[in-house]
């Protein structure tokens, strides 16, 4: 069994007019441990919804999601939270760092709710992303590129089996984007974490083999959701 197995996954939303609109209808999708996969998706194609369902943040309307053997589609919210805390690392386009906490504390929070509590690992990760001299800075005191590096370190803090990266380079200029992508891939490899990166940036996706297009696996086609 692979790290991630998805079967007959469906998700839809009600439009403001009250009409139910299916935005995801994925017959089959899988990833293996340590695999790095790029997923192309245009804005509004449902790629964030797809990642949220894998992470157990939202539930599918139908279908199965097996993450590291856990049936995420059938588990209680609390159990999904627990699995997310220990199995999934999440990198957001807008970094989603907590403004009131230092870089080090933000990385600590990445492992706070999982089974692993290792303050030394947080320090080590920040050293790996080159922020050893910025550990006690607040996010607002960092450049955009540095903030993204903190977010990358946080995503790996809980030693996840799977890192979900949602447009991780979307807010970075091309040179920083290259650097961030390289960092994410290297750290995932070093930490034996699989990586599912969704983006609409062809330059980023070209670096992934294989690279899937969400439109190819999503029978719902172009949707109006996210």
């Amino acid at each position: 069994m692979g790290l991630l197995e998805i079967h007959q996954l469906e998700k839809g939303f009600f439009t403001p007019e009250g009409r139910h609109q299916k935005i995801l209808d994925i017959r089959s999708f899988s990833m293996n441990s340590g695999q790095q996969l790029g997923l192309r998706g245009q804005s509004g194609s449902g790629k964030t919804t797809f990642l949220h369902m894998i992470a157990g943040i939202i539930q599918p309307d139908a279908g199965q999601i097996l993450l590291d053997g856990h049936p995420m589609h059938a588990l209680s919210e609390a159990r999904r939270d627990q699995i997310r805390a220990s199995t999934v690392g999440y990198i957001f386009q807008t970094f989603n760092l907590l403004a009131g906490f230092t870089c080090l504390e933000n990385v600590h929070l990445g492992m706070r709710f999982g089974s692993q509590q290792n303050p030394e690992r947080a320090v080590s990760l920040l050293e790996q992303v080159g922020l050893q001299d910025r550990m006690h800075y607040r996010p607002s005191q960092l450049s955009v590129g540095q903030q993204q590096r903190v977010a990358i370190a946080r995503a790996l803090a809980n030693s996840p089996r799977l890192v979900l990266a949602d447009e991780p380079t979307g807010n970075l200029d091309p040179s920083l984007a290259e650097e961030a992508l390289s960092l994410i891939r290297t750290l995932c490899t070093e930490n034996n974490a699989a990586l599912l990166l969704v983006s609409h940036d062809q330059g980023i996706l070209d670096q992934f083999q294989p690279c899937l297009d969400l439109r190819e696996i999503n029978r719902a086609g172009q949707g109006g959701g996210s």
């Binding site: 964030t48 919804t49 943040i57 939202i58 807008t94 989603n96 760092l97 906490f101 706070r112 709710f113």
Partner: protein
């Protein structure tokens, strides 16, 4: 990072709101504590103060006025008794001790009380406690113009043994009403924490015969303080003087008369308590509103924490803990506010009555009020915590692609 650390960080992030809400809790707690402790202590102190006497005999008047005037040395004297009344009551078989007092003069607002000093020195104003003269002083000679000062009066007036002063006519200080007589301070009472501390004791005859007083009343007295042989004597004398007679009043028993006073003014501390409760409710509402409003701006932070694996109950718990800590800090501060209010109130009560309230005396409210205020804060935090609990994650992890 521990949950407590996260909560403390959040409190620091919203420092102004934390401080204001904690202060409102502190004010409410301080008021409640002060009302309860001062009320109970004042009640105990006033009811417990009898200066060693069971009853007060005076001219026909209110029993409360007699007690306030003769025991607490406040209020105006209701009128004078003839010396013969003192002699009669002294000979009554139910009376073991009778001490005549006369009032009507002051020195800079501190009341002069004329009495028989030898009896005063034998009175146990509290169990096993008799008035003592501080070292370097002595009791006054009844035949001379000498004075013994209560400790508080001495301290406030700055008089010491050997100093002299001219009394002023009346119970209220009026600089134009100075008597010609000169009194010498010969002693100072050791502090007794009783109304005796704030009066100036002089010989009875000195006050009766002060220049300017009506010579016809030169043997009159203001009241007689009575100690009974046995409680049953009080019933008999009450019947004889109060019910069958119409010229004199015997205020007996002193403690019950004071207890009745507190019953009569009980509505006042009920109002104060009610005000304190209202302040507590408003303060709890402040916590609720303050936290509830910040929940709106913290939706994203909550969603981020949820995305990192924080369960709903952890989010709920952190908000409740935050609210509890605000109330807890306020409760600690309420002890400081209570201390300040108590000190001011105790000073005023001592100045007015001589009764001393003890800040360090234990009262159950000192533990229950902080606990109660913290619990109120905890409950107040449940509503914003529930809002945080229900915060949808996906919608608040902006932006969505």
């Amino acid at each position: 990072m521990s949950l407590l650390g996260m909560v403390l960080r959040s409190l620091r992030q919203h420092l102004l709101s934390t401080v204001i809400t904690s202060c409102s809790i502190a004010l409410a707690g301080g008021l409640i504590l002060s009302v309860w402790t001062i009320k109970d202590q004042a009640n105990q102190a006033f009811v417990g103060v009898h200066s060693g006497f069971d009853a007060v005999l005076g001219i026909r008047s209110s029993k409360l006025q007699l007690v306030l005037n003769a025991i607490f040395h406040v209020e105006a004297s209701p009128g004078n008794l003839a010396w013969q009344d003192y002699l009669d009551i002294r000979e009554h078989p139910g009376v073991s001790q009778a001490l005549p007092i006369a009032v009507g003069d002051n020195y800079r607002g501190y009341r002069l009380v004329g009495t028989l000093p030898d009896i005063l020195s034998q009175v146990a104003y509290r169990e096993a406690s008799t008035y003592q003269i501080a070292p370097g002083g002595r009791w006054m000679d009844p035949q001379r113009r000498e004075a013994v000062l209560g400790s508080f009066a001495a301290q406030q007036l700055g008089l010491k043994v050997g100093d002299t002063f001219h009394p002023y006519h009346g119970l209220l200080f009026d600089e134009s009403k100075q008597h010609a007589e000169t009194y010498v301070v010969v002693g100072e009472l050791e502090p007794s924490n009783s109304p005796a501390d704030r009066v100036i004791w002089i010989p009875l005859a000195g006050l009766q015969k002060m220049s300017g007083h009506d010579p016809k009343t030169a043997t009159d007295i203001s009241a007689v303080l009575i100690k009974l042989n046995q409680p049953q004597a009080g019933f008999r004398m009450d019947m004889m003087i109060n019910k069958q007679g119409d010229r004199l009043t015997m205020a007996w028993p002193v403690d019950q008369i004071m207890a009745q006073l507190f019953t009569k003014i009980g509505w006042f501390d009920k109002v104060l308590t009610l005000v304190a409760y209202l302040v507590a409710v408003v303060a709890a509402g402040g916590i609720l509103a303050g936290l509830y409003n910040t929940m709106e701006e913290r939706r994203r932070d909550i969603a981020i924490l949820r995305s990192l694996g924080a369960r709903r109950r952890i989010i709920f718990g952190t908000v409740v803990m935050e609210s509890s800590l605000i109330a807890f800090f306020g409760s600690i501060l309420s002890l400081v506010i209570h201390t300040a209010i108590f000190i001011v109130a105790a000073k005023m009560i001592r100045q007015q009555t001589g009764v001393v309230l003890n800040l360090w005396q234990w009262h159950p409210s000192l533990i229950w009020t902080p606990i109660g205020m913290t619990l109120i804060g905890t409950f107040a935090g449940c509503i914003p915590a529930f809002k945080a609990y229900r915060t949808p994650v996906a919608e608040n992890l902006t932006p969505l692609s």
